[in-house]
Every structure is written in C-alpha cells, then in structure tokens.
Amino acid sequence: MSPAGCSHVNAYKVDNWRPNLRVIYQCFVWSGSAETRRRKVLQNDAGWTALAKSCICHMCGAHLNRLHSCLYCVFFGCFTKKHIHDHAKNKRHNLAIDLLYGGIYCFVCQDYIYDKDMEQIAKEEQRKAWKLQGVGEKYSTWEPTKRELDLLRHNPKRRKITTNCTIGLRGLINLGNTCFMNCIVQALTHTPLLRDFFLSDRHKCEMQSNSCLVCEMSQLFQEFYSGHRSPHIPFRLLHLVWTHARHLAGYEQQDAHEFLIAALDVLHRHCKGDTTRDDNGKKANNPNHCNCIIDQIFTGGLQSDVTCQVCHGVSTTIDPFWDISLDLPGSSTPFWPLSPGGDCGLVNGESHLSGATTLTDCLRRFTRPEHLGSSAKIKCGGCHSYQESTKQLTMKKLPIVACFHLKRFEHSAKLRRKITTYVSFPLELDMTPFMASSKESRMNGQYQQTVDVLNNDNKYSLFAVVNHQGTLESGHYTSFIRQHKDQWFKCDDAIITKASIKDVLDSEGYLLFYHKQFLEYE
C-alpha cells in the first residue's frame, strides 16, 4: 500500500497534467475563494471549453451521493448510483476524483490510488484554500519520512504507554547533599513541553566541546524515559553544573531555587543552536528576543508601574522573569494587612476557613500597590522633580510554566532562619486577577470578573512541588511530581513512591511548578 500509484495513474501523468489537476482541486475540491465557489471554470489552454456552473451529477442532478469528477473530461457523476462508473466504462476514462476528499479513483484497479506526486498537489492546494479561508494551518496527522520509516524498521522494539505504567519515573542517587539538584531534575523531566522537545531530538548542538548542558539534559531525558527502573547516577550533570555555575560547586547543601535559576540560565545560554532563523536564514541573535525552548516555556513578563503621587503619571517597565519569589507571613517584612476586596480567593477555590495563608494571598500581596516612602522618592518625568510614588507589580505575559518560590529562607542582617508557615496552594490556579490587563479593567471601572473566569488563557495546573525538610543548617529536599493526569509520586533521591493528592497539597511547599492548561499556536 505504498504511495506508488498504479499504471493507469502513470498513464495520466503526461503533458500538462499538473496544472489541470490543480484547477480541479482549486475549483471543485478545496474551494478557497468566493469566485471558485461559484464554480466557474475558464481554462482555455487545458481545453475546458464548457462552463461548469455547479457540481451536480450530469446524469441525475444530485449533489450528494459521493460526487466524482472525471479526470479526462468535464463530467460529474454520482459514485453511489454508479453514474461515474458508467461514464468510465463508456468513454474508457478510467480515472476520477472524489470531490469531497480529493481521492483519486482508478476504475481498472477498482480502488483509490495514492500517487505521491498527486498527493503533493492535493496537499498544496488544500493549504492554499485554508489560507484563503483564513483558517491558517490545521492539524494534520504525522506522516513519517523515508528516514523515519527506516529507523522504525531497524528498531522494532515498541513501548506501549498504559494508564498505570511508570515510564518517566526514575530515582536519582544522592552524590553528597545533591538532593537540591535531584528535585529540580525531577521537576524538569516532568515538564511536558520540555520532555517533548528533548524526546523529539530538537536540540542541534553548536558547542565544540563536550560541555553542553543541553546535550546532557537530552541524555538525561533518554535515561528517564528508557524504561529502566534502577536509579540514575547523574554524575555528568553534576560535573557540568559545577563547571558552568561555579557558585554551586562543592558538596555543601545548596538552595534548590538557586540551582533552578542557574540551570535555566546555563541551558538558555547553551541553546544557541536552536534559536529560530529569520526569513533570510540569519539567526536571531538578539539576546532580548531569544526564542530558545527555555524562553518559550519559562520566560514571562513582569510589569512594574510606578505612579507619581503628584501628577499621577505612570512609568511602566516590563522585565522578563523565570520565577516569582513570594514573601511569607512571619518574615521580617510585614505581610498583612492586604488591601480589601478579595474575590481572588473565591476564584481559586481555596478555603480561608482554617486561617491558613494561601498562595493567592501571597500573589495578592505581590501585586498590591506599594507606597514608596519619602526616603525613596523617584524622579518623575512629568513633574521633573523627585516625588513620592506608588509601585505596583502585575503579570504582563505569563510563561507556559510558572514557578513560584516561597521565600522560606531568611538571610537578613539580624537572623538566618527558615519560615515554616504552612501556605496552602491549589491544584488549579487562575492567574487572571494578577494580570496587567485585569488591573487596567479594574481601573477603568469595568468589573470583568465573570468574563475572565471563562477565559482559559490564565488557567494553570500544578505538576511539581519541591519541599524542604529540616533547618537552614541541615535539611533535605524532596519533590512531588505529577506523572499522569492524576497520578502523583514522591521523589526522595533514589526512592520513588506513590503519593496521594492530599499528600501533595498538605506539604509545606517551597517551589511550586504550574503548567498552563490550554496552549495556543502562535
């Protein structure tokens, strides 16, 4: 059943067959424009002298019944009623095209024939029509290339993913206080988009030496999804991290959050080979507009509005971010009181009954307008002098993966301690109340709460949690990761155990990883 066509199709493929076939696809099968929809055909050089006014059967006038068009002359006939078959027999025109789906039928072979050249034309015309209709690119099923077919044939082993299989789960040996690294690795290997990127071999390495961290990540993904159940020993990864992020080298316990940022930074820098090229084939070398996979997944935009208290002029800046660090109650900076007006808690379904601080509380505090005191006056562009102002942070652009860092480790001048206040966080998070656009609507007096709840762009799902047990001096990191839709596992270095959603939500929480629920094409 290869797309090799048949001898009768090959007999058709002579002279001017390509443009003739294209006309048929354009006018009768995939009609893109209003004109072609009216089915007027004027193609003198192809010898189409008749004006085909509409697609109906020339025998019975019906337009359903799987209408086919003869490839050799202007004749439309029903397939179901065999009108096109009669025509084929009488005129010995043995090829016809199905006007619904564009398939080529050979009356001699008595089946639809797949010819590579014809398929090519059909696909191109379909894409053109979609573009004219304003539909753009549609999803089309994967068709393997010749090389891919060869690879599949030479590697016949197949892995089937069932609902309770443990693919992707693997323990990591602790190489000496490296649990901080192990947790982040677990979170990254279970980030769906990152996993898809690496498993489909999308990294093209341009580094000369063997020290590319992205290549090592690629290897890591291969190890994790290999199906091996024994714990993996990430010594190469550790060595590369020490090489590229010197401040993390050594066998002391490090901060998992610091490791995350350092790892993302090195990966981002090493992704040079994967940046997209513009139309001239030149690489987009602008460091502010990197399009590497790390930026695509993790980079968001944080908007900072500074409002002058005198002239009310607003100065706005937008800075990229990979994570949101949130202050907690009990730290030396005051947490309460928050501004009143809290529908946010209801949006995210968290309960305030127990009096526990919620993630949404922290986010509300993060995005509240802050009065910068008289000792921190800002030069106002409108007033041309130093004035008191308020500053407010909101989300301009949300990343696909949002990482929240609860600032549990206090390193102030007075004390170094860990804040163990329980913060409740939800499985599903709606970021709409914290968006810059929401703030603008509120300021314009539009209360769009209900509409925004229906908007799916800002909805996130929890997929990984990194926890720290112990004190600042000696502690241990573990993580919870989500493998299938509702299957959670606890990763404690080399030991992976099944966990319940309750275990996850009851945990203290240090780093929280959320993934956008709905992704859109650019």
């Binding site: 059943m1 009609s31 209003a34 929809r37 006038g61 019906a62 337009h63 008595q110 089946d111 209709q133």
Partner: protein
C-alpha cells in the same frame, strides 16, 4: 428530479456560494471530534481492516460497512445544532 431534491440543490448551491457550507462542515467536524464520534469511527475502521486483511481491504469495503454505523452514531445534540444553524441561515436569506 423531484421538487424535494430541486429544493435541496438550490439550498446547497446557496450554502456553497455564501461560504456557509464550509463553515457548517467545520462546525460539524469539531462537534464530531468533541463527542468522540471520530475516535469511534477510527476504531470501527480498524476492525474492518483487521477483518478483511490489510492487503485486501478497499475503500469501498470500509464505506459500505462504516457508513450506516457512522450515521447511526451521530448524537442527536449534534444533529439538532446543525439543523438550527441551517434554519437560521435560511431565515436570513429567505429569497429561497
């Protein structure tokens, strides 16, 4: 051609010219995927292919076996919605 099929043709012609037929097709496609009908059909096709053998099965075999099942399995809600859309269209372009 009977009066009924004449009317059908006329309506169909209008739908095509105003681009409504394509829109209706897209709506139907989306609805049939949403309700799982497409997956059901795929499974049915696989059964037929297994039955007849990959090297011997023809498109005709599939059409003959799948068409009645496919028609029967379209949910009523989808039929209703499409019908509503067509009615609304006709109401708007009442010259027919």
């Amino acid at each position: 051609m009977s009066k009924d099929s004449q009317m059908r043709s006329a309506i169909n012609q209008r739908l095509i010219e105003m681009g409504e037929r394509e829109r209706l097709k897209e709506l139907l496609r989306a609805k049939l995927v949403e309700c799982g009908w497409k997956d059901q059909m795929k499974a049915q096709c696989k059964d037929v292919i297994r039955e007849k053998g990959l090297e011997h099965v023809t498109v005709e075999d599939l059409v003959a076996e799948i068409t009645p099942k496919g028609r029967a399995l379209v949910p009523d809600s989808v039929k209703k919605e499409l019908l509503q859309r067509i009615r609304a269209f006709l109401a708007q372009h009442s010259t027919l």
